[in-house]
Every structure is written in structure tokens, then in C-alpha cells.
Amino acid sequence: MNADFTAEELEFQKEVQDFLKAEFPQDIKHKVDNGIKLEKDDFVRWQKILYKKGWVAPNWPEEYGGTGWSPTQKYIFALEMGLYGAMEPVAFGVKMVAPVIYSYGNEEQKKRFLPDILQSNVWWCQGYSEPNAGSDLASLKTTAVREGDHYIVNGTKTWNTLGQYADWIFCLVRTDNTVKKQEGISFLLIDMKTPGIKLSPIVLLDGEPEVNEVHFDNVKVPVENLVGEENKGWTYAKVLLTHERTNIAQVPNSKLKLQKLRKLAASTPDGFGGTLLDNPVFIKKLAEAEIQVQALEFAELRTLAAVSVGKAPGPESSILKIVGTEATQFIDELYMEVAAYHSLPHVPEQFTEGFDGEHVGNGSLAASANTYFNNRKKSIYGGSNEIQKNIISKAVLGL
């Protein structure tokens, strides 16, 4: 056992740091540091820079554009990105649909879709959930009926994150009604511009239309957009979900938030002449959060070390999903506690680019209530934390 970095790894770390300093756009860094809302273009611009460096998809096999890094290098990269505040590439393309395409798609599909994902030419979104198929995803009812060279898709997907930006959606659709529910599902790629697709935005607790309902009304999808075999979609979907869950742990992001929080606490008056870092109750909680993230980090490292390139993680990903989201949510609570009443004003426009009015509240802390509300989603999506515990109970503990 050895947790030290080798000389080469240290060199790599330096390379990543230098790259971020030189290449992460200043204006985006300014937004991130000040909690200003990021636009689609910010993500795309940054991902294209990563692409030019060849670093957009460390987890992909090298033949499709992966980096060929060791687990340690991947860890270093993710950590440095997180600590610098550089966004990870939007997960739907790089981390979700791409692994399904390179694992189960045909050559034609790999050629057609993977390069555009790498180059951020196409924005993907996820069409799994339906109003009545949330935790029980396999009960989904959106149908795809084969008619000649096309499938005709009908139904409603929901909770579709950032679909308003998306060019393509990957969908789970029902292609067979006569078999066990898991056995009649297929994995279909659909161009969002196809006639018959309509989006209705859903506003979340922070006032942002982050998700959508997506209605499919006789949408014609060419059969060549089917990934893998018809009715085998559930297998592919589950693989994708384990990728999604691991991605939710967000250790580097939590570390950065904790660093910032410690600084903020050191400059936040406790109301009695000291700062919050003089408050024993608060520092105990802060320490607990740091310890939680350390334990999580090492759980993640052990998982990563066990997973070889391109392979999906196993049920351990449930641990990362549960603890990762709990850590994020606990840190959100601490931010709100530091902010006290300064997080109560709801003035979202002051966190948009170009706002020049009077700022209400206390700098970026003023957004902490809305962040707290919004991040309650994390223990719900990606398979709720209850579902993760069911998975552990069954698949790990044999109950």
C-alpha cells in the first residue's frame, strides 16, 4: 500500500496545474469564483479547450479518444480541475451516452457520434424518467413501434436536465409490451429537432427552469439510431447508471467548497466580536464534513483502483452516490449556517453576468439558500439514495 505520488505523478500534477492556469478562460473563472450563472457557451468553450489538449474524456478507451491515464492520473486530473474551479465536461455526453455507444454501438454509430461528443459539437440530454417511472424506471411506457425503417415514438419523459440546450437525447423506450418489463426496453438516440418533440420547462425551487418535460408525439426515428440490440436497452441503461452514480460523488468539488468555507468562516463575524472559526459548535461540524469527504475520497480511490480502463464500476458505486450526495448536502447546510440571514434574499439577477445593481446579502454566500434547496435533488436523482441502499442490501449484503 502506498498513497504517495511518484515523481512522474507529481510532474503530471504540475502539468495539469499549469494547463489550468494558462488555459481555463479568465472570464469563466471569474464567474465560477463569484457564483455567477454559467451559460451553455461557457461549458462548450471550455470543453473545446480540453478537447484540443486531448483531455476531455479521461475515462474513454484510448482508441476512441481517451487519455490512457492510470487511475492515479485520472484522480489527479479530477482533483486539480475541481480545486481550480474548472467545470467537468457536462456528463450526459462524455460520461453517460458515450460509454454506451463505444461499448454497445456499431462502428457506424461510433464514427457518427463519438467525435462530436469529444469536440463538444453536440449537447446530449438524458431521457430515462417518466412521470410514473421514477425509481421504478423499468416500468417506463414511452413506446417505439417499428414501421419500416423507422421507429415511431410516443410518450412523455420528464426531469430532463438542460434539455433546452440539447441537440440529441438518449432515450429508453418500450419496444415490447408482452414480456417482463425489463426485457422490452430499447436504447434509442433521438435528434431533438425531429418533428413531434415538445419541451415544457419545469421550474425548480431556486426559480430556475433546469429540467423539462419532453413530449413525443409520433416522432419518427431512423432504426439506425437504435444502440445495440432491440429489447436489450435495460442492460445498457444500468451500465450507464453506474457511471452516472460515480460521477455524482464530486469529491474535488466538495474539497474546494470546504476550503472556501473555512476561509469564509474565518472572515464571518460571530456577532460577538470574533469569527465563526472561534465557534466550537461550528468548527466541529466543519471538521466532520472534512472527515466525511476524506473517507469518501479514499472510498472513491479504492473503487477507481479496482476499475480498469473503460469498464463500468460495480455496486460500490452506490456507496459513492450515497455518501457523495450526503456530503454535498451537508456542506450546503454549513454554507447556509455561515450565511445566516444573508442567504435569505432571493435576488437571482445579481448572480447573472453584467449585473450592476446594488448587491444584496453577503457576496456569494447570498446564494447559499438557493443552492441548498436546489441540491436536495442530489439524493433523489441518479437512482435515489433509498434505491442505492436497496441495491447494497440486495447485491452486496445478500438480504
Binding site: 425509481s135 421504478d136 425551487l205 447556509m336 434574499p345 434547496f373 439514495n385 433509498e386
Partner: protein
Amino acid sequence: MDFSYSDEQQMLQDSVQKFVKGQYDFDTRKKLIESDRGFSEDYWNLFAELGWLTVPFNEEDGGFGGSAVDLMVVMEEFGKGMVVEPFLATAVLSGGLISELGNEAQKQALLGAIMEGKLQLATAYAEADSRYNLASVATTASKSADGYVLSGDKVVVFNGPAADKLLVVARTSGDKFDRDGISVFIVDADAAGVSARAYTAVDGHRAAELHLNDVKVPADALLGAEGKALPALERVVDRVTLAVSAEAVGALACLLQKTVEYAKTRKQFGVAIGTFQALQHRMADMFVECELARSIVIMAAMKLDSSATAADKTKAVAAAKSRVGRAMRLVGQEAVQIHGGIAVTDELDVGHYFKRVTTIEHLFGDTDYQTMRYAAL
């Protein structure tokens, strides 16, 4: 021991309950929040007509009696409807200060108008770095030939945007944290030198940041003895703290009820999600928290109405806010989690109850603050 309401209290509860059920559904509230004023002038007049605005005041001042239990009864029902009319800011907090500190002339001029629904007030006490310490006051009031001149900045002044008059807590002497030297002034909202940045808070209530730039007030704007206002401010804020704790009890009861109902109807895996024991136990925990929250608020209200010492009363309020704070976090989070995705949307009332209780958690001393205050007493 008797935990039953008097006939009058029962009638009060029935009438507020009837109003909330009949006239304050979620859509009505949503429209009010989005309106210019942020609440309903008609409802405010109705509150006056029905006598609810007299509840915080004692009989000498022309009120209903001013008992903490009465206040609890009203606030709990308001909590169920997430009522946004500024009852707390105008009647309980500002009215409470006038009642505690005002001379006959001031009471005469203001209390009747509050109870008749003709006067909106807001109390400006918190500052950017005062956190929950009421004695931390940097805003100054210096004596002038014919009165005082006020300067400083105040934050989260609830009902600030609608207030006709402001009660401004300012320092007439002493250093920032001194208990002595704190005074309260009645200031016209449109007085020269007062500027307000109005906003809607995350829970839909209206508030403002206030800037006081050499605001001149006459000598009779002073409420109570110069420099001696802190104990009264603390007593009034304790009452307000009890009131929001009672409001939270009402809101939490709704969260529990809505969650249980939803769990009985929402089906996944072919069965109601309420059949999963993993969720049942958590709803049982919510129920336990709700009952403990209600119990400790009743304890604190009874204590405030008793002949207990000032320190015991404060300790009871601290205990109540601390325990209710814990309940707000647990019940609020669990209600959202058990509902799933639908609860993080703006469409469903559950998220709005969650936001209101979270707001209450961070007002008038958060859970850790109140726990430590209790420990220190």
C-alpha cells in the same frame, strides 16, 4: 395541568383555520407573492375586522390579552397556510416594541392604528455582521438640537417595503457590543435620508436592506428611555421567536400530512411507496419530531404566560427554537426526499413549506445559537 384551549382560544383557532382552509390555498398565496405589494391588503383588513391584529396586545393597550398561548394558536394556523401578511413584523415585533417601550402618547398614536389594520410597520435591528446578537449595533443616533440624527445600515428588515413607519434600533452611546446605549426610534419610511433596497426573500416574504444617511428625527421619535431598550428588544424578539416556532409547528404538521398522503397514493414497483418500511420508519420519525416540536412550543408558551423569571422564560424560548429547529431540518428534508423529484419543483406546495421552515430556521437565532444560549443560561 390542563392543556385544553379556553373557549376564546378555541374560537380563535377555528376562525383562523377557517380562513386558511377557505381563502388561502396554495394558488392564492402564489398570486399574492407575485403581486406588487407581496400580500393582500384585503386580507389584512379582514384580519383587523376579525380582531386577530389585537391578539399580541394586552387589555390595557386595547388588545385581546397578549398571551403567548393565544399567539401560538394564531401562528400555528398561519403556518399551515404559509400566510405572508406581515402579522409578525407589524403586530408582534413592532407592535410589541411599542407596547413595551412606548409612552401613552406613542401608544395612543400607533397601537390603535395597528389593530385597525391602518398602519404597517417594520423593525430594523439586524446589521450585516451582527448575526444573532441583538446587542451588536453599529448604527448610530447622535443627539442634535431638536432630536437625533441616525446613520447606518440595516439588513433583512421584514415588511420593510410596505412599512409606513420603521422602528430603527440604534446606538445612542457605548461601543458596538455594549448592552447599554441601545435605543429605538420611530422613523417615517419616507423620511429624508432613508433609502431601501426591497426584495423578495426565498420564502416569498418581502424584506429590505435599509440605508440611513443622516436621518433627522424629532426628540419624541425615541421609544422608551434613551439607551435602555435592549432588555425590551430581547423580550419582544423572544416572543417573536416563540411565534415563528409555533408557525413552524403548523407548517411541519402540513409537511407530515402531505408526505403521508402522497406515500399512500404514489405508486412505484406496483405498490404505494408508503408500503416500503424504509420510508415508513422515516415518516414515523417525522411524526415523532412534529410531536416533540409541538410539545416544546406549548411548554415555552405556557412558560411565557407564567410568573417564571425572565431568565427561565428566555431559556424556555431558546429550548423551543432549538428543538423546533432540529425538527424543521429533519421534517423538511424528509418531506422533500420522500416525495422525490416533484418536491424540488416550484409547482408543488411541499417545496414552499420547506423553504419557509428553512427560513425560520435561520431567523432569530439558528439551532446551534439557541442551543448554546440555552446552555449558557
